[in-house]
């Protein structure tokens, strides 16, 4: 269990800024995510030494160096596996994982699935810029079909995947999406992830100014977001474009269409606690331009975490057998004297 300490001196953003110079490209979306986390962590009532930030490889994975917490910049794709070990070994830490679309969904896809299904109490931020940045501009598993990059000069023939569909299919308890250029939304989503007990998966739509600039502009520029972004708020109807459009349940499918005064009451109401996850999964399939882009908390359903179950088994074994006695172990089974 992570201890929150009410007598803790008030921490501020400054306490979480390391002495290292931040070296992302000017204008990179990573800066705001860094600032957001440095804002959110001091508010958790957790001592600074009880945070660990684990990353893989990629532009985003330089993140730990810029946070004045315990940090581990690991190897490509493996952040979740390392973080699983950190959390299992010391459940008292709040462990954040920083990964990207290449790191988390391509080379590390396997670990993502398994960490999520186990429900290790990790806070995972996946920076999705739909491109490989650190290796200078190759298409990634979330790049749009047909995108022309250095390794897809005739257009990518790879079907992209939705990070949230993957996460929800793996059974994640907390799934959310936010964007790098909306500080308020970003901090509120990270705050919700921090408070969630269990794996919290947050996809941040993050702009790469060099290799994929403006990829989210069609639905998340200051003007387009009012029309094409669908904000998910618990207990509120799923409407967008100034409440002119809404979601309606039609049998097994969800219809997105204009809302009229007569059917406004029939608009589906968002419920992140919906047990089956069907609504969350359906929303995760939404892709622009056919559908609006949902932002916010898709799912928030808690269940026992892997680390607490592991701890529980150790305690149960000790209660049943007593704390391990080495001499007894060595002398167990069939022995004889000479």
């Amino acid at each position: 269990m992570i201890e929150t300490n009410p007598t803790l001196p008030i921490l501020t953003k400054k306490d979480f800024v390391s002495d290292q110079q931040v070296k992302w490209c000017p204008g990179c979306g990573d800066y705001s995510i860094l600032a957001a986390l440095q804002t959110v962590l001091p508010r958790q009532g957790i001592a600074r030494e009880n945070f660990a930030i684990i990353s893989g490889i990629g532009c985003s994975s330089r993140f730990p160096y810029y946070m004045d917490t315990y940090g581990f910049h690991t190897i490509h794709g493996r952040a979740l596996a390392v973080a699983t070990g950190v959390k299992a070994a010391n459940p008292g830490l709040q462990v954040w994982v920083i990964t990207g679309d290449g790191d988390g969904l391509s080379i590390g896809g396997n670990h993502l699935l398994h960490a999520l299904r186990r429900n290790v109490d990790l806070k995972v931020i996946l920076f999705n810029n739909e491109i490989y940045g650190l290796t200078k501009g190759q298409f990634s598993p979330t790049s749009a079909l047909g995108i022309k990059t250095k390794t897809s000069p005739m257009g990518s023939i790879d079907q992209p995947l939705s990070p949230l569909s993957v996460a929800l299919s793996a059974g994640v308890g907390f799934a959310a999406r936010t964007v790098d250029n909306d500080m308020k939304h970003l901090t509120s989503v990270l705050e919700a992830a921090a408070k969630f007990k269990g794996t919290a998966f947050v996809e941040v739509l993050q702009n790469c100014v060099i290799f994929n600039d403006g990829v989210y502009d069609p639905f998340y520029a200051p003007d387009t977001r009012k029309i094409n972004a669908l904000y998910l708020e618990d207990g509120k109807p799923l409407t967008w474009a100034n409440d002119t459009k809404g979601l309606f349940a039609e049998g097994f499918s969800i219809d997105a269409r204009d809302v009229t005064d007569s059917d406004r009451s029939r608009v589906v109401v968002h419920d992140a606690k919906e047990e089956s996850g069907t609504l969350a999964w359906t929303l995760s399939r939404f892709a622009f331009p056919d559908r609006p882009v949902p932002l916010g908390v898709f799912r928030s359903v808690e269940r026992p975490t892997y680390d607490e179950l592991m701890d529980g088994q150790i305690r149960a074994a000790q209660a049943a057998k007593g704390t391990g006695d080495l001499a007894k172990l060595l002398n167990s089974g069939f022995t004889w004297k000479v």
Binding site: Y65, G71, R78, V86, I314, Q318, T335
Partner: protein, 622 residues
């Protein structure tokens, strides 16, 4: 028959008894015939009588290959003696073959004049066909070099267990106990410890327990009544160091060694592992020891297994990952992360036949160069190889001690032979175990992440310690701050520091220990699980008195004992026998520039003492 099967007859029918110094028995049958269990029971009985012993199970990769085929033959070899022995034996004195396939795959190892006990029920036309025999070898003189004892064990067993109410297939299944009973009679051992064991094991199924017990006693009594064997044999007590003993396999020993390391260091043990033959036992053993605070994480793959262990080490646990060759390939990038981040970690590689999937259940020593060099960059790692099943305990302890005292990953090599093989293990007193102090810094005023101590080790500061927040990773670090550095001079300095740190482990390694002649004609240099065979072969050559042969067995292969080169220089020739095509030889000749003769065997089996003796004589003579 049914009355007899419940008691042991008075030994009035007993024939002469012949005293033997050592005997090797191999039980061979179908995978489902219970040969491993039979062998283990005989082993315990031998231990009970004070014999020295060594065992070697040999089972197929398939769990249940088609019954009756040669692919499905499972065997268990046991060498027991009234003297000190170090191997499960070369050629066998007794072969128990439960079917034609078992005969076919094992008969080549039976000594001339050896006893061959066969179950005739496994030699019907279909069985012969599956084994690839065109005619029944029991019916002609192909087996005339052996003392063949054939009887319908299956039918006898079914009759014997009838009073228990167990019938048909289940009844026939007891035939391994019938056979065991026969062997107990032949080697003058009481079946009562096995009777006890049966009662405990099958306590919840009383009729099965009774059936097995009836079969055991019926086999014993059958020999006593029928003049099947002309003599019984006695193998007396072996001289052993006084103490309490247990039978231990290499994998069991390794698991206990790591628990001991955890207790001795006061640091919780974390194992990240992915099931792989022949290493899975260690994960299974440790998963059952949660009351020691052991955390076992069965990962989604080999990479996650080691990465989780690295994470646990970062968080302050004594971290371990266990695997075999193909898994070690997958782990190499992560091992380098531990090299760069200078994190304590033990990687156990229970070697098997390679390359690729290779021979999963057969032994080999062909991962040595991979362990030493199989990573990108200059990435030195201490490598220790256990020499016997019980040495896996001590090697595990040492590997863990070096890992935490030098802040480095350590590779511990075992192999399928010592991992599955078993021998008596003198149980140490807790006070005999090495203690090692684990220090975690707490003072923010003096803490620097890459400040090295006298061992060259950086401090192990663990998350949760106020004021010591720091970042580590796979990028090159500047010393002592631990910040990222691309400075060429710094990389040169750090590379050398990592190298020197590992070299300094030689203070743990100690000096070269020579068995046999301290100088002379030939030095035999071995490593890992071949210790028993090589040592026995050198003993045999020395007993002849003609040659001056020394034997050096390397446990630590990196670093090597610092005086090894000068020891090698005291002999005219050097022979390096190993279960690969010359990996240690390449390493040593590269280090020392001394020509060496190799003896490479890659047949999935350990060395026979006899083939080593021949090689030693040939090398000296050549």
């Amino acid at each position: 028959m049914s009355d007899q099967s419940q008691t042991i007859l008075e030994a009035d029918g007993r024939k002469d008894s012949v005293e033997l110094e050592s005997v090797t028995i191999r039980f061979a049958g179908d995978s489902g015939d219970g040969m491993q269990l039979t062998g283990t029971q005989f082993t315990d009985a031998a231990a009970h009588l004070g014999n020295d012993l060594a065992t070697l199970p040999d089972f197929p990769a398939e769990i249940r290959a088609p019954a009756g085929t040669t692919a499905g033959v499972s065997a268990f070899q046991l060498h027991f003696a009234s003297r000190d022995i170090k191997t499960p034996g070369d050629d066998i004195d007794v072969l128990v073959a439960m079917n034609a396939a078992a005969l076919k795959t094992n008969i080549a190892d039976l000594k001339q004049g050896g006893i061959l006990l066969v179950d005739e029920d496994g030699f019907h036309e279909k069985d012969l066909e599956k084994a690839g025999y065109t005619s029944n070898p029991l019916d002609d003189d192909r087996l005339k070099a052996f003392r063949v004892v054939k009887l319908d064990i299956s039918a006898n067993t079914v009759r014997a267990v009838e009073p228990s109410g167990v019938k048909g297939k289940n009844a026939a299944r007891c035939k391994n106990f019938y056979t065991l009973g026969m062997m107990y009679w032949l080697y003058d051992r009481s079946p009562s410890p096995t009777q006890e064991w049966i009662k405990q094991k099958f306590g919840k199924k009383p009729e099965i327990a009774q059936a097995n017990e009836f079969a055991l006693l019926a086999g014993y009594n059958y020999c006593d009544t029928v003049e099947l064997f002309s003599t019984t044999y006695k193998v007396g007590k072996a001289p052993q160091v006084p103490g309490t003993y247990r039978r231990i396999s290499g994998n069991e020993a390794a698991a206990m060694g790591f628990v001991a390391a955890s207790v001795q260091s006061g640091t919780p043990l974390f194992l990240g592992s992915y099931p792989i033959t022949p290493a899975s036992d260690i994960l299974q053993e440790l998963a059952a020891l949660k009351h020691f605070g052991v955390r076992t994480f069965q990962a989604e793959d080999e990479i996650a297994a080691i990465c989780a262990a690295i994470g646990a080490a970062f968080a302050g646990n004594l971290a371990l990952t266990t695997t075999s060759g193909p898994g070690l390939c997958l782990k190499s990038e992560a091992i380098n992360l531990a090299v760069m981040a200078e994190i304590p970690l033990v990687i156990v590689d229970v070697q098997r036949g390679g390359p690729s999937t290779g021979l999963p259940t057969k032994t080999e020593q062909s991962d040595l160069l991979q362990a030493l060099f199989g990573r990108n960059g200059d990435s030195p790692i201490p490598v220790i190889a256990a020499k016997t099943p019980s040495d896996c305990f001590w090697a595990a302890l040492e590997a863990a001690k070096v890992a935490v005292e030098y802040m480095t990953p350590v590779i511990m090599l075992s192999d399928g032979y010592i991992a599955n093989g078993a021998e008596p293990f003198r149980i140490p007193e807790i006070s005999d175990l090495p203690k090692f102090e684990v220090r975690h810094p707490t003072d923010p005023a003096t803490f620097k992440p890459y400040q090295r101590n006298l061992n060259g080790a950086r401090p192990w500061a663990i998350p949760g310690t106020p004021g010591l927040e720091h970042r580590i990773g796979g990028l090159e670090k500047s010393s002592p701050s631990g910040n990222i550095s691309y400075d060429p001079d710094n990389h040169q300095k750090m590379t050398l520091e990592r190298y020197e740190k590992i070299e300094s482990v030689s203070s743990v390694v100690g000096k070269t220990f020579v068995e046999g002649s301290p100088e002379g004609d030939l030095l035999v240099v071995s490593w890992g699980g071949t210790y028993g065979s090589v040592s026995s072969a050198v003993d045999r050559v020395l007993a002849d008195g003609k040659l001056k042969v020394g034997h050096v067995h390397l446990r630590w292969i990196n670093p090597l004992p610092i005086d090894l080169q000068s020891v090698i220089g005291r002999y005219r020739k050097v022979l390096v026998p190993e279960l690969n095509v010359g990996q240690l030889r390449l390493f040593l000749s590269g280090k020392f520039g001394i020509p060496m003769q190799g003896l490479g065997k890659v047949a999935g089996k350990p060395f026979k003492i006899s083939e080593l003796v021949t090689a030693i004589q040939k090398t000296v003579g050549a």
